[in-house]
Point group: C3
């Protein structure tokens, strides 16, 4: 396929073309990926919150137990093979192990091997003959990462934004397990071009921002095809809708505001963010990470599949300063960003992700952001030499 | 079928005949009508409670959004075709429209046509190419009525009790959405001959009434076949049950009471009610409306199908007086009828409608009221020239 | 099959053998008995709590209504055949009967025969033509017993511990309906060799007891094959687990304790319990009764199947003394046993029965108790002349 018609929807003259079928047949791997994309790293809990008391989580339909042993974190399949009890209900009896609460079957956290079945004595013949699946883990960005898949794990750093490794920064964030809605609705809502201008318009976080009414948008990929960017070719701040009236109405808080040119905005950008040369301030990448470039900080959000109807929602705000501004950003995060942005603002998104009920669906021009994202997922399944080939999660 | 054996069950000499199968195969259209009878008008909400804030309801398995525009009320299918969000979660942005909360897709409330997709600008090519289903609506008796079906709607008045259009009256009522139980159990319980004498006997609303223990009953239809009436051929107030004892026991509150002859009762009847010449004080009609003629007022109740297991329960008490008695009836309604009748008394019915679990079932003589009602539903499906032909609701 | 390898697992030299498949195919009747074993007596409610107000319970997937009439207790199928309402929601209107709350269908509690349909009068032709199933009942040990099955009931006493009929005793107990988990998990947990030493080790009820870390155990049956006993061939109190460390750690409360020889324990045994000559202090029998012999009292628990995921849990502590020690044991029961044993201790079992999720399963040596119990159930289905042949419960 050489033409990519949905990538350039800016021309006003073009006749409307169908935006695709009302179902998802044209994205078969995406349609099948109800439980998420396998063979990726996923963020789970704050590293500081994980100690030697095991924690149980759900990831891509699988129950997983997390535990810390010294400076390392480990993940095992959260089911004792004996009678099916969750290991995360158990505890650490000996260093480097976790014991099932029921009969004290004791597993080595590093590899899942059964190293004792306590009530059967030291000579228990089952020791060494049973093990539970272990998952690759990493600690990075203050988060515990788990690799779910059947292939050899790629380096975690390959899958994360490079700027988080090459700069110092201070961060604040919020993890919401069990957020309702399939993970695909969450990604689509995050990268969705159209809804922000309507759904979020009257929210407190937007009070002192100039928000366009609508825009002509195209989607561009970066060089190595990791990120997709929403790029606005033109924006309108107030329009006359025939037979209806003007929309959007100017907010009273905006009356005195001056619209800044993109150039002016650029000058006020944080230098590190400016150095990234992002073609658009919203971008998305596999397996479901959104990046929003505000003027002074970056916001990331991961949509981590849990089961068919729930995902873990990880919000992460990054300020590329340290020293005194460390404290200043923390203060701003805890008094403002966490409340109005990571709480109220994205809470309205949570409402829509919960309400969404598609397919059937009927897409419109701004949904080029959604269809392009779906194609990105499909492309990950294409056989290429140096491409990851994730498989859709199977029901466990 | 020329004999109608279940219509006359008064003879004590007749041998017991089976009252039908234990399942509903002999009423195939009735059995299929799990979600209600289509091509009828249904009452939904109080007209005074509907403004320009949309309300979402469920009707015959369909999600429907109601909204008022000036003096008119409108109903649309409550699902934005874009991504499946409910329109009733949205709001009125421009006069005569409702906008989806997610992307501001804006629909004309009169016909469901998409008239703007706000974040795509005034030239959005999708405008005019999408619409949602609209439903015929009427405002009458202080209620908002919606016609659900595939045929041209009949006039609402044809389906309502004529006396409500030819007389002045004052009314009080109660709407209960989400009442548990399939609508058919609710109708059957309402028109059911037998249960009142047992289930309701000891209720406060019955304290000063003489209630027979049992009766010989027949079911008669009025001339044009709209209403079915329960007519008591004989009543007994206390009987000897062999091997068990006397039942019912006289209530202490009834000791001084005199049984009135039907003639005496007739004289005390409200003149308008008397003029109706009702052959029985309980009657039922399609698609599920019960009328109870008390001495001084009429009580109506509609059983409006919501889904397989729930119905909207609309109670409506009518006094054919205006002027000072208007206030007197309102006082009586709010201090007595609403509490003891529309609350406590029919609350016990709600309990039984919730408990009912049939088929299988094993009917007995008084259930002639139920089988006759089922036959009325079946007859509505028979091909006749001037008959409505409703189809059972399909799962949406 | 002449060898019974799982009955003797004491030899340390033997090579590990597979403990069976990971599913339950080798116990086909057991696997099928999701709803319980039919043709047995089951305890239900305390006899003192059953009066002439009907009570509804669930037993082997069937809804059953219990009622007392004078000194006798009765059980009927808890569904009025008329419209499916539960008889246990009704009441006793005439002696010896129960009436459905809806239409007063009145059933003889002794045989389930319809003896009046009140609102149809004394000559109702349906009387005598309808009945509901009745269940054999007995009152014994202060409990109401119901026989569920299709065969002629065996005498209740044949199914109960003989010592409860040949001795005076005082008892205390606790009935928990709706305990989560299939009844088979509850039995298996009760007779399970291994979990006690790990799961219950740190509980208050165990504070002053010496609990071994592990044991070599064999399962023996009594002469007539009614009871299976867990017999410990050797016990260890603290062991070195290679690469892990010592387990179990001595509890501080045990430091001063002296391990008693079995002979010493025997001398302190209650004389009646000693006279039973039990080969082990834990035993189990069909259809799911556990007996624990403590030094001074016996503890019984019945696991009564309710539905696929719930059972009624009946705990019963018996002290073979009367007179002044009657009061002493009651005091001990209500201040100590009921709280720490029948509440806290078995509450932790309830947690595991709820968590268990098998098959698949992977058994280990101590699970000989479980596999032997499963074989006992299978043996009950073998065609023998003087054996009961229960059939697995069918879904009702």
């Amino acid at each position: 396929m050489t033409t990519k018609p949905e990538e350039a929807n800016g021309s006003r003259k073009r006749k409307p073309r169908p935006q695709g079928l009302e179902d998802w047949r044209q994205w078969p791997n995406y349609e099948a990926a109800t439980l998420g994309l396998r063979n990726y790293w996923y963020p789970t809990v704050w590293a500081r919150d994980l100690g030697d008391k095991p924690q149980g989580i759900k990831l891509l339909g699988e129950n997983i137990m997390l535990i810390r042993e010294g400076s390392e974190v480990y993940a095992l399949h959260d089911r004792c093979p004996h009678r099916g009890v969750k290991l995360s209900e158990g505890k650490k009896v000996f260093p480097g192990t976790v014991s099932c609460p029921y009969h004290g079957w004791t597993f080595d956290v590093t590899d899942g091997r059964l190293c004792a079945a306590l009530p059967d004595g030291p000579d228990s013949p089952i020791v060494g003959n049973v093990s539970v699946r272990s998952y690759p883990t990493e600690e990075a960005l203050g988060l515990v990462w788990v690799f779910v898949g059947d292939e050899k794990p790629t380096p975690l750093r390959d899958q994360l934004p490079e700027e988080l490794f090459t700069n110092d920064y201070v961060a604040g964030g919020r993890i919401t397990p069990g957020r309702y809605g399939n993970w695909r609705f969450a990604v689509e809502n995050g990268f969705d071009e159209g809804h922000a201008r309507y759904l979020h318009r009257d929210q407190a976080f937007m009070m002192f921002r100039q928000m366009p009414g609508w825009a002509r948008t195209k989607i561009v990929a970066d060089e190595d095809g990791d990120w997709l960017f929403r790029v606005q070719e033109s924006v309108e701040y107030e329009s006359d809708f025939p037979g209806l009236g003007k929309w959007p109405r100017r907010k009273i808080t905006q009356v005195a505001q001056r619209k800044m040119t993109p150039g002016e905005v650029g000058k006020r950008l944080d230098p590190t963010i400016r150095s990234l040369n992002l073609p658009g301030h919203i971008s998305v990448r596999l397996p479901g990470l959104l990046r929003v470039a505000w003027t002074t900080y970056l916001h990331f959000e991961w949509y981590v599949p849990e089961d068919e109807n729930h995902h873990r929602y990880v919000q992460y705000a990054v300020r590329f300063k340290t020293g005194p501004s460390d404290f200043a950003f923390r203060l701003r995060y805890w008094t403002y960003i966490r409340w109005l942005f990571h709480g109220k603002f994205t809470g309205r998104d949570a409402w829509m992700v919960e309400e969404m009920d598609a397919p059937p669906e009927r897409l419109f021009r701004p949904d080029v952001s959604i269809t392009r994202w779906r194609r990105l997922v499909e492309s990950a399944f294409e056989p290429k030499q140096d491409k990851k080939k994730p498989a859709p999660a199977k029901k466990p």
